[in-house]
Amino acid sequence: MTRVWLLLGGAFAALSFAIVLLVLVPRAMLTRVEAPPWLEPYTASELQGREVYIANGCVYCHSQQVRDPAFTSDVERGWGSRATVPADYVYDRPNLLGTSRTGPDLINVGQRLPDPNWQLIHLYDPRALNAWSIMPGFPFLFEEKAPDAVRPGDRVVVIPGPRAPRGRVVVAKPEALALTNYLLSLKRNGAVPASAMARERMAGPLAGGMNGHDDGARPAP
């Protein structure tokens, strides 16, 4: 090759083609996706918790997607009753779909583990609840106070077993409470209305067997 413009033009065309096909065309199609009626936008506290989730890199071990039960065990594992669809994510910015399951999927954790106290203990020290867990504790999201320093309004977290700090009381910081609120908001098991079933429509003839969202009879949480 001797022509720079031919080289750069071709290189530009190659990437532009991919951007049009995989970003701009889907963007045009996804504008039709509407949130299902049961899906509320995140509250301010949940959004703050989402920021804590991002800041501490939870996404590097936890996915937020249930895949098609036809070729995975996601549904059998109890991570959701159906595969998730684009409508489940309309309020997610940026995406936290994740690519690793060093820890379990979290897209329905608010339904699976709805006890905020469990979540707080688990965030403070996962091995206080599951000895086999390799999740890091996040003690920096909590304060360890002397018992007489606890003020009314403090959210005290009682750590069970021998891993509780001796002579100190664990109090959740606002970050820990926000993160817990966010985790409890993760529920995407509700029925997906026809208007939000854009996935199938967009998938067209290639979809064969991939429609994991057809158990629409399930009531919204």
Binding site: L7, L8, I54, L97, T99, W132, G137
Partner: protein, 538 residues
Amino acid sequence: MTAPRHAPEPQRSRTVPEARRESATVPPVVDQIAGVAQVQTVRGIAEARELAPKDLEIRLQADASSRLPVLVCYSAAAVWLIVGSLFGELASLKLHWPDLLTREGWLTFGRIRTAHLNAVNYGWGSLAMIGTSLWLMPRLVHAELRRPRLAAMGAVLWNIGLLLGVGGILVGVSDGMEWLEMSRWFADPWLVVGGGMIGVALFSTVAARKAEHLYVSVWYIMSAFLWFPMLFILGNWPTWSGVESGAVNWLFAHNVLGFWLTAVSVGVAYYFIPKVLGRPIYSYQLSILGFWTFAFFYALNGMHHLVGGPLPTWMITTSVTASVLMFIPVVATAINLHMTVVGRFGALRYSPTLRFVVLGAMGYTAVSLQGSFTALREVNRITHFTHWTIAHSHVGVYGFVTFIMFGAMYYVVPRLVGHEWPSAALIRWHFGLVVAGIAIYVVALTWAGVAQGLALLDPGLPFQASVERTRYGLMGRSLGGLLMTAGHVVFAWHFWLMLRGRQPAGARPPFHEARPILYTEAAADVVATSRSHAGSAP
């Protein structure tokens, strides 16, 4: 010691003219020895080998013109390599010692791991590649590097952005998308401006070219410097939400591997393998085929990171198809690079550059075939979401990209500082540690990934099983990472000696002393003569 043999003369005009000229004019070992300051030696060798001194002069001027920005990039790259390795090793330890250093937010796994990725990708890998590109381009187009100070300034801005970005990640500021975590508001703009300044220097050098033909390395490197800014700006544009943000995320993340790290590294391999061997590239036609299929298929690969995910199925199918089609460019490039080496493997014993680059090229073939294979749905249902992916990415970014960059730096730095690497032993230690390290790393973590994936796929097993089965694999990974980190410390120390020190008088270049099979007798004589004056080189 056996008598020196003549290096075979490269065949005439079968392939790329530029490649022929590059490889024909420079006796490989001579190029390994001569630094900028040793012009006389080089000229003497040129005469002894009946080569055109003009070509050597072009080369020396090219090297002198790029000296400043290349050394800035390489020095920063070496620092980021150490920093990134320490982050990576700590993150690895935390996965089997989860109570290690949990009290401080900035040391938590999710931040350290992310700091590791950004430090090694945008710090080590990118800066080593930018440095090598700035050194290579003037040589390939027969023009001095234009605006070298602008390029050096650009590299400084890039580093400021990185410091802010990685520092931000550690204190908990992240944009939240994998590979795009550095703040789009206070870190990324520095990289865009700094990278732009480097791009101006590079492209204006190409515009001022005196060589008509564009060698294959130029195709890859120029395209990469067009692709990366397009991708980086697209990925950081703050408009994406929902699953479309996932699509942009993986279009970016896969293409930063393909269209940035891979493109530059393949270009660099295309230069050094024929260069050091003194032999032309196997086939020009294959390099054309390889390049254009690479460009059009690789761009579409990204959605294979979301197989089974909540995206329209046709998007994922497109990426899986494109991933399988990657066989074409990969096999074309593999044949081209490997067939150039076939029959000359003995030379690997004498050139650290060749060792690293040839091993890196093998890493490219391996990681690409593994990648195509992993994109298949039947394989992906096991390996997706597991440590397999992390092992795979290290075959690519380490066994391929990093090895090629080590090879390039062993070749380039002596030409910039004017003397050889001080210690053959340190190079051997570096090589041995990193090869053993990455081998252990990949085997251990791939095994862990398969065990984890099979456990996850079996709904009869509790999640706990998928965690416990990875334990020894994760420990193995930490061991591999420790060896790699030790190798990096050796390399960085050697690089430091190289920058501040001077070759001791009469010291011999490493790897060539045992049996200089690539020397011609005449050239060897000149080298021997010049060595007696080596101490006086400025």
